[in-house]
Symmetry: C2
Subunit: 911 residues, 2 copies
């Protein structure tokens, strides 16, 4: 395949040529990190010299049963020689030693998942040469002991604990808390002990030969591609397993060579807010892993502008040029070695939803990217984060006033979360997944092994680590509210408890965390849904609306929801469930009377009592949606949902019968008897409405046909309200929608009833209302016979929840528990059909319905009002099917606007 | 429209010419009766002269608001004059009077539904003229009083009761039981009283003018088309309401002119058995209505061959020529007037299922009709009557030995029926329809008003009437077992009880009737399903098989059913429900153990225990179906069906806990505690399996995936059995069928498991079995994705019960009670989709599935195994869709064979 296994950083053009000029292919060949190092080198960024062993070499190695491919070692020697020439140093030469790092780097970023070995080239002789050269024995032995540990651990598979115990012992003996307080002698002694540990645990001595070190490290990185952590991460992130990893060999530069040295990680823009200014952390006189591990409290980049003003200026210029080059916000690792700035790595920066939106909009306005690119760069789910609950201001204040404030940390991933404290990932996962509880995972710091628990938890708290710590990165990536580095928290893992002073929270107790402010509070704090007053988001959604070619409507059952959705950009109401209006405490008794009526007159009376309530409901909706269509679905659910349960009634009856024993007066007895009779009548009706499969029973249009007067009352309420609001000067556009139609005759029947009543109301009121009559398509038969349906329906709206249930033969409530979760886990179903429309089955029925319906009625208005209406992939499907709009819950409206725009950008050719 | 309203019988050629030469149109114009009278006249049958007023005249009359169309009266006068010339008599002329009948006759026969007036032309003068002419005063006044009553009743709307009371009084005064024992003086007096009744109740006198009589009678017949009885009948029989009725005016001939006169009704072949010999009833010296009403006990036609040998010979020759002319068995009304035979009417004869089959086969063998015509003449439902239950011989004998025999009557409609006695039609209908009870309707005789009760009842008994009585005709037509003319029965309608001597049966008590033998028995008699050893049926079905082009398989769960179905002609098993095998008392506890197992080892053990049972089941099936395919569906129903109900378990537990209070020994206490624990475990499992919509829950293939080992056990049992039976020399063709597939991946998963186990068994046994793997298509999604499904399925079989439920969104159990009946009554649904496949919805899904499936796998074998597999219209649909076979319950196999053949004959061009 490859004629060349290794590319020096300054040979990136060759690598690109070998990849057919394609940069994506180049990234696949060199890995993201290697390609970027080459790319940076190409554009003049100060990158320590080095080279990349390609992913093809890795794949060849793994395919051959872990054997290095022919020619690799020769190329390696040549590449190394080139680095020696560039640096003027010599690998393994004690007099002027070259030290190198060896890092993995695959096509896609897998933070913390892959292995790294630093300071390769150090040995017993070289360390002494370093002492002489730097005149810093402490530095030299610190570097050496790091190599021995990393090599032992990464290359030879020795566990970290024995090394850590040694360090702990030394710290204890010296009475210090940090390794940076240990002395040169300490590190010299530690190095000896580390070498002994390697010898004992690995069964071989630490290799003194620099070249052998390099070869073994390279192979270890190759092998790490198939390590369990890496495989788990790729499974979770959906990354292919056959990409392989490249290995980057790079001259070591040291941030720990004194107070004129430093190391850090920084973003070209603020990853939390998106503000266009450098944001990051660094440590003076430290190695890079100290920053990432979060074991020392880092300094903000603002401080660097004072500590190293020139270098800070240089850094900001490099950051700007990198951003311009990559047209994306950059996440850079850097080291200052004795006053000289080196960029070790750059990659596209991870960011919060808020930052993603602001950065996309800013970059478009700066002319760095197009508006369409800006739209496509924000994931629809990120918009959802804007609507993540935050704590109600009053509730949070009250909690603090009650003394429930616990601690503050870094606000690294916004949003509010409430849950039970779990101190390890397994427990967090178990509580969340198996028991369905809300969990906050609390750890001193997090490691890649903890990701499954973090994903399962509602939120994350750590007592250590900075903005770029593992915990912060993962939380941001997956949109979990997180507070990190809350140093006041003392986490006692053995006692399963956390302390702040004398306050204590045991595992299993509830805390609330605010990822936006960084606060941690004891107990539960009430959350509230925020509005959408983010200027950048507003702009992004305006741009989205310009390219979007499918309508976004909302499902709203009351004026508040309607107004909220309208403020979010909804262009109409696609679904108002009238039955939700029936559950009010002032209405339910009347509804029950209507259902249990044994003579028609009683039903007529109950319906007459309901009429004014329903009318008021509709008046509010029509006012809120002045000028926009309002789709009102007539009553849908099985009647038993409005009645007390069988068990309740039985208990009540028993109770009444006992009370009658001790009744004090004839009047009381008579009252009780009357109530018993009433309850028994109710019980009888409840019994008679019992169904073995209520989902497929007496509901929807069937109710309208079986219960005379119900449709008529609802229609009257709609049209009386419409006439009233129209009289107020508003533009009213009602769309009356029949649920659960299976046969065109049901529709024909209801239409007749509706038109008669609508005409009656309109002539009574002397107002003409421009209305439409239509139906839900939520039964497969309705979709299959949409040509007939469209003879009576002026619009159709897919109820994809029921349609999915019936098309799949799955009762959602039952199935998720019984088998659906297992189906998803085992890959029998690739996606949950209740989250994303199943394109082959349900989508096919929708396609048939639209095609047949429009064959009968040209341009038949068609929408979707199931929960899928807010799901990006489902929106893209609806657009492909030629639907006129999607309708979703108010908080999903902005998500849908963006998703619809992205679909238009992605498939611009759809008619 | 018509240039001519009236056609004389000998002008039938003109009528046919006016109908474009088309005989069906001629029948529509003249009505069946009129057309046949003309037709008989044309071929030389002795028909009393007369003419037909066309249906167009009737429709013109009704359309004009009951006004006779222009020209009709003139044509009527001319036609009448022609009859006077032919008979040499004169209408309204006392010296030589012509009397005529006036009868309705529409295109389709509506027995007893339409009105008739006889002896028109009689008046106070004519009756005296008749006395002189015939020298028979009694005859003349009998005829006159009949006219007055019929005219009063039919034309003037006087109720029958006042007339009947007069007759009753005369009979009582004379001490006789029959009108035939009344004298001439009696009839003269009765006539006077009848005229007075008419005057009093109709408010006008009986018209003395013959022409007025005729005009009024004609109009009355026209109006009777829109009478309630006629409309009800047409609704029940599916006859169009806009056909109108013709009126036939025909010279009266009298069967009551002495002992050389007679009247009767006869079939050209036996209407009960189909034997090719004249069968019928007649009465000497009687009027036709005496025979039909069943008020006198009639004589069989055999007696006529002795009483009137020459005329009997003439009649049989006429019958033969009519049969040859119409190529159908004929039902003829005849009168002998003073030794001269007249045929009054002929029409295709109604017959039992047995007779229909034999007559069709005989006629084909006689060369009268083709084999295809024979096949098409028998309704599939009639084949079903062959399999109607009959009484088990031993059980009937035992009932008689116990003294439960009640009476014998005429065996007019075969089959056995058991039910509660109901003495009126309304009650019979209410009990049967609302309460779902089995009812036998018992009446002295039946009238058209009783039909709704007869349809609702399981069987019919009358104490009066003959083989051609109303009760007998209706019962035969609708396939209801019936015993008529059981004269020993004394029915006391006021006391609601029936007596035979001192035996008594009250209304609501159960009786059993045998329509095949004519017996009535007190209480319930066990019924049994007969076999199909009718030679004519066997021949008919053999002919059917020759033209049939779709396979007929059976649904059979055990070897007995399989053998039975095979004897009925089944060509394979299309569905074996393995779960039915799980309900045996020796198996259910093991099945429960399998379901409730809390550790895998327990489940494995239970499955191992089930294996030998299942294997034996399959061994029996494979043996029974040697050489034919056996489709075995893996377990399908929700698990809770195998467990006790929640209520049962709760009651049991309460019981056990009470018993523990009074336990006598420690051992007993321990035993009870162990059982309580067991029951509580069961209760827990029952609770956990509860589903809100079990039909859409954990069942079918989902079980096979969720319960490890279940599929494997079933597959092992199938293949071990197959190997064993194959070793015995039989040809074994198992088809393993996966139920409730929604997604191809379910199938892929199960197939993998199956193939592994099947291979394992076959190599263990050293036998190679030729098997197929396939799936039910009963979920809409499976139909829509049949292209994917067919990648793994070697055959598909439509489960149209579930497919209908899901396509319609209807739970059958709930729906029939809640709304489906109403939907059918109100015509929202034209047909019950659970009886006949809905072609637009379910049929469309089937079409899609076959098309897509065969696009992936050419010639994919496809069948249907829902209940629809035995429904003729559904079979025709399956054939149109290109299915390979239908599978139905064993008793429906012969029905399906015939229906399939008829479909092939009707649509011979289908590929």
């Amino acid at each position: 395949m490859a004629s060349k296994w290794i590319y020096a950083f300054d040979e990136v053009d060759d690598a690109q040529a070998a990849s057919g000029g394609d940069w994506e292919e180049t990234r696949a060949l060199l890995g993201g990190k290697g390609a970027n190092l080459g790319d940076m080198t190409r554009i003049g960024v100060p990158v320590p010299p080095g080279f990349t062993i390609s992913t093809e070499a890795c794949n060849a190695y793994l395919a051959a049963g872990e054997e290095l491919p022919d020619g690799l070692l020769e190329e390696l020697a040549a590449a190394l020689q080139k680095v020696e020439e560039a640096t003027g140093k010599s690998f393994g030469d004690a007099s002027n030693p070259l030290l190198v790092s060896c890092r993995s780097g695959s096509k896609f970023s897998m933070p913390g998942m892959m292995d790294t070995v630093l300071n390769i080239g150090m040995n017993d002789e070289v360390v002494e040469g370093m002492v002489k050269l730097t005149n810093d024995e402490r530095f030299a032995y610190d570097a050496y002991r790091r190599l021995v540990q990393m090599f032992g651990s990464v290359v030879l598979g020795v566990r970290d604990e024995p090394f850590e115990y040694v360090l702990e012992r030394f710290r204890a003996e010296r009475g210090v808390s940090s390794d940076s307080d240990l002395t040169a002698d300490d590190f010299r002694a530690i190095t000896e002990e580390f070498k002994a540990i390697v010898e004992r645990f690995a069964g071989r001595s630490f290799p003194q030969d620099a070249t052998e070190q390099l070869h073994l490290a390279t192979e270890a990185v190759f092998r790490s591609w198939n390590g369990k952590r890496a495989i788990d991460y790729r499974n979770a992130a959906g990354i292919s397993h056959d990409l392989g990893t490249a290995v980057n060999i790079q001259t070591m530069v040291f941030g720990n060579m004194g107070e004129d040295s430093a190391t850090g990680v920084a973003m070209s823009r603020n990853a939390t807010t998106g503000e266009p200014s450098i944001e990051g952390d660094y440590l003076t006189n430290a190695q890079g892993e100290d920053v990432v591990a979060g074991t020392r409290v880092t300094k903000r980049m603002e401080e660097m502008s004072r500590e190293f003003p020139d270098i800070y200026t240089e850094f900001t210029e490099i950051a700007k040029s990198l951003e311009e080059h990559y047209r994306e916000m950059q996440d850079m690792e850097f080291t200052i070695e004795m006053g000289k700035l080196w960029i070790l790595q750059t990659r596209d920066g991870k960011r919060t939803a808020q930052a993603a939106v602001r950065i996309a909009v800013d970059m478009a306005e700066e002319g760095l990217i197009t508006q369409e690119e800006a739209i496509s760069r924000v994931k629809p789910e990120q918009i959802d984060f804007f609507l993540h609950p935050s704590f109600a201001v009053q509730a949070k204040k009250a909690a603090k006033d009650e003394g429930r404030f616990l601690a503050t940390g870094l606000n690294v991933s916004p949003g509010a979360a409430v849950g039970m404290v779990a101190f390890d990932a397994d427990l967090a996962e178990r509580w969340a997944k198996e028991d369905g509880r809300d969990v906050i995972m609390v750890r001193p710091e997090t490691k890649p092994d903890d990701v499954h628990g973090m994903l399962a938890a509602n939120g994350i708290v750590t007592s250590r680590g900075g903005r770029t710590s593992h915990a912060a990165l993962v939380a941001r990536q997956f949109g979990k509210p997180a507070v990190v580095g809350a140093e006041d928290l003392i986490i006692d893992l053995s006692e399963r408890v956390l302390h702040v002073g004398d306050r204590m929270v045991r595992e299993g107790e509830v805390i609330s965390i605010d990822g936006t402010s960084g606060e941690v509070i004891i107990g539960e704090v009430e959350t509230r849904t925020p509005d959408l007053e983010n200027d950048w988001l507003k702009k992004l959604l305006e741009w989205a609306d310009q390219v979007r070619d499918i309508g976004v409507w909302t499902n709203a059952d009351n004026p508040d929801d309607a107004r909220l959705a309208r403020s979010y950009g909804a262009e109409g109401i696609g679904l108002t469930r009238t039955e939700h209006m029936f559950f009010g405490s002032d209405r339910l008794p009347i509804v029950q009377k209507m259902i249990t009526a044994s003579i028609p007159a009683d039903r007529v009376e109950a319906l007459a009592q309901l009429l004014p309530f329903q009318r008021e409901d509709f008046v509010g909706l029509f006012r809120a949606m002045d000028g926009l269509p309002v789709t009102i679905r007539l009553i849908d659910p099985p009647l038993h949902e409005f009645l007390p349960s069988f068990e309740e009634l039985t208990t009540d009856l028993t109770d009444l019968k006992i009370r009658i024993q001790s009744a004090g007066s004839l009047k009381e007895i008579n009252d009780l008897l009357a109530r018993i009779e009433e309850q028994e009548h109710m019980l009888q009706r409840v019994e008679s409405l019992r169904e073995s499969n209520p989902m497929l029973g007496l509901r929807g249009v069937r109710l309208g046909i079986v219960l005379p007067g119900l449709t008529k009352m609802q229609v009257r309420a709609i049209f009386e309200a419409a006439c009233q609001v129209s009289g107020e000067g508003a533009v009213v556009k009602p769309k009356v929608m029949i649920p659960l139609t299976a046969h065109v005759n049901e529709l024909a029947r209801q239409r007749e009833e509706l038109e008669e009543e609508a005409q009656a109301v309109m002539s009574e009121q002397g107002v003409e209302i421009d209305y439409e009559f239509g139906t839900m398509i939520e039964i497969p038969r309705a979709a299959l016979t949409a040509d007939e349906i469209a003879r009576h329906a002026e619009f159709i709206s897919f109820g994809t929840n029921d349609l999915t249930q019936m098309t799949f033969g799955i009762s959602r409530d039952d199935a998720e528990k019984a088998f659906l979760v297992q189906y998803l886990e085992e890959g029998i179903l690739a996606r949950n059909p209740f989250a994303t429309i199943d394109p082959e089955g349900v989508g096919e029925l929708m396609r048939i319905a639209v095609e047949k319906g429009r064959a009968t009625r040209e341009g038949l208005n068609a929408g979707i009002c199931g929960e899928h209406g807010g799901d990006p992939d489902s929106i893209a499907l609806c657009r492909r099917l030629g639907l006129d709009y999607v309708s979703c819950s108010p908080p999903r409206v902005p998500v849908a606007r963006l998703a619809a725009a992205q679909a238009s950008i992605k498939e611009p050719m759809v008619a």
